[in-house]
Amino acid sequence: MQHSKLLETSVGLFVALGLVSLFFLAMQVSNLADVTGDARGYRVTARFQNVGSLKVRATVSMAGVRVGRVSAIRFDKESYEAVVDLTIDPQFDTIPSDTTASILTQGLLGEQYVGLSPGAESEYLKEGDKIDLTQSAMVLEQVISRFLFDKAENGDKRASETPEQTQVTPAAPVASPIPEAVVPGEGAIPDVQQESAPAGAIQ
Amino acid sequence: MTVSLSDDQVLVAIRDLVFFHGERKIFDGVDLRFQKGKVTAIMGPSGTGKTTLLKLIGGQLRPHRGRILVDGCDVHRLRATELYELRKRMGMLFQSGALLTDLSVFENVAFPLREHTRLPEPVIRKLVLMKLHAVGLRGARDLMPSQLSGGMARRVALARAIALDPMMILYDEPFTGQDPISMGVLVKLIRDLNRELGLTSIVVSHDVKETLTIADYVYLISGGKVVGEGTPETIAHSDSPWIRQFVHGDADGPVPFHYPAPDYRADLMAAGLGGSR
């Protein structure tokens, strides 16, 4: 009797230990604690010409702070655009409706995420709203070809204009909110320079 | 030899049994009958297939020809569940004992009771102690099988075989390794079980004297055939050279002492060909 009690207790401890390990892996090692928060919160959609390698459950951040997650990525076969659902945590309920969504990269080669930069509107985003101002993912080939193209153009201009001015070319439109009509990649360069530094710290 | 299978005095009937172990023919058309409520002994030289016969009756081996009927059921045509139901009514004492080595003596005897009945613990305890008392090992209940001698292990196995009060018990060499006293007790136990509870017993044994004292009927098997049968008296006073040789333990006679082998002299002279042929 004593023996079987000891045996049962030790098996009970073993099972508890295994479950605690699983719990530890789920809560402390993985993003389960974040993911389960997704069920709550409100959804907004944003359309992009190109989402690059953005994935479902990627971070949505604002000023480098995580405010939500990407909950779905679809393709709209009429407009040939990507439709991205963003689930924003409920406590962030004061995001202006003219906010811009950009697809950015953590660090030089890191994961892609959605960065929100606030607008000035006094109305706030709510469930089901659309974000109209978006900026697509940077596509490396386009950036490079653009850069080479500019270089060649500048070479021509150099003959007529002052050389100092030409060096700044890649930073052309510095203003952050850029309408989505802009060719992908064109506006991306300044944004990368602007936001990649805090991006690494986003949790 | 005519065997009438309809006879309801017959509990086990074996008809035209043929069985091979690999290439080797163990039984070559054997007919046997075991009477209800009687002790029937099977004797024969070592290696003739007595253990094999018991396993055939228990449904653990499948005959290549012939039928084995136990209580009217063809053992090898039964479905698995029916076979298990039949086995609940059969006890078997294995030659090796076959005790479960991770259970104590008490738990070994309690094993069939726990598996097949929902009896409360005090009842199980009482039953187990009664069976152990019958084989003289009530005091050894807490030992593990590894702490038993060969003879003790066999007696525990016997207690386990009778735990469920079966209708029939197959004993494979119950007397081997017993001292004269426990041998006497076992002989009495087998006879009592048989007389008082009406158990049918099939005893495989080499011990001619003991076997002849308890058996009601005896079969002698050799070379895959029945070479003699009859009541102990007829066996003891038989004129048949086979039976005489076996009963008196003579080395020379029609029953071969040797496993089939080539000529002794030729085998010895065939040096350099290795141990096997």
Partner: protein
């Protein structure tokens, strides 16, 4: 009489197929026997003790050392790129995706699988299984099924333990000895390790390995030639086949789980 190579290959193939067929038949029978276990959980519990509890120590100690080695090696590589902050990610990802399930399965087959094979093989050799059959007790239900399910249930728990202790070991070396930032170690890990892709897939892997290793162990024991030599060969086969099966299945599962992105 020389047999030609094709004949040998053919016979080998036929024997392998036969064995596989018998093993499947055997498993179907054991699964049928699992119903009894619901009525008699005690049988399962006592096997969980021998199979699971007795493996805890070796799994935990191995996990600790594997995690510590990952911490050291990872630090050396990552610091060349100035990425020591991601040490936590590297340690945790290697553990939960690969090393946890695979190394635990290999340790388990050596510690518990071989013991199961030897135990069942010896029970066969000493006629205990035949004895049970004659007592109208089905050894597949009474002996094999509890051992099989104990192994299947223990493996994911042991693998989780291995991974957890391994992460601790990596933390101890990375943060404690090599000075990686404490906050970055955990936060990078949480950001990169995905619950479904990594943890759940790791648990699925270890469950599959649990089935494979325990199945091989109990089947080899049950199928052993009932002699001392037969049992010893079966035990060796059990460990060797388990290792092959675990590594092969690991490839298949990894391709299925992580291959599509």
């Amino acid at each position: 009489m020389m047999e030609n190579p094709f004949q040998r290959l053919g016979r080998f193939t036929l024997e392998a197929m036969q064995k596989l067929g018998r093993a499947n038949f055997f498993m179907a029978h054991v699964l049928l026997g699992s119903v009894d276990l619901l009525l008699r959980p005690r049988l399962l519990i006592s096997q969980m003790f021998f199979v699971g509890v007795m493996s805890v120590l070796i799994v935990a100690v191995s996990g600790l050392f594997v995690g510590m080695v990952l911490g050291l090696q990872g630090y050396n590589v990552l610091s060349d790129f100035g990425a020591e902050q991601t040490l936590g990610v590297m340690v945790a990802a290697s553990l939960v995706r690969e090393l946890g399930p695979v190394v635990t399965a290999l340790l388990f087959s050596g510690r518990a699988g071989s013991a199961l094979t030897a135990e069942i093989g010896l029970m066969k050799t000493t006629e205990q299984l035949a004895g049970m059959e004659m007592m109208a007790v089905d050894p597949l239900r009474r002996v094999v099924a509890p051992r099989f399910f104990a192994g299947v249930a223990s493996m994911p728990l042991l693998a989780a333990l291995f991974s957890m202790v391994g992460v601790m070991g990596g933390y101890f070396v990375g943060v404690g000895l090599l000075g990686v930032d404490d906050g970055a170690f955990w936060s990078q890990m949480v950001a990169k390790i995905d619950f479904y892709d990594d943890i759940v897939n790791g648990v699925i892997k270890s469950a599959v390995f649990g089935v494979v290793v325990t199945w091989i162990a109990v089947y080899e024991g049950y199928d052993a030639v009932p002699t001392a030599e037969g049992v010893s060969r079966a035990t060796t086969r059990s460990v060797v086949y388990s290792a092959f099966a675990v590594l092969g299945w690991d490839f298949v599962l990894t391709a299925m789980m992580f291959g599509d992105h």
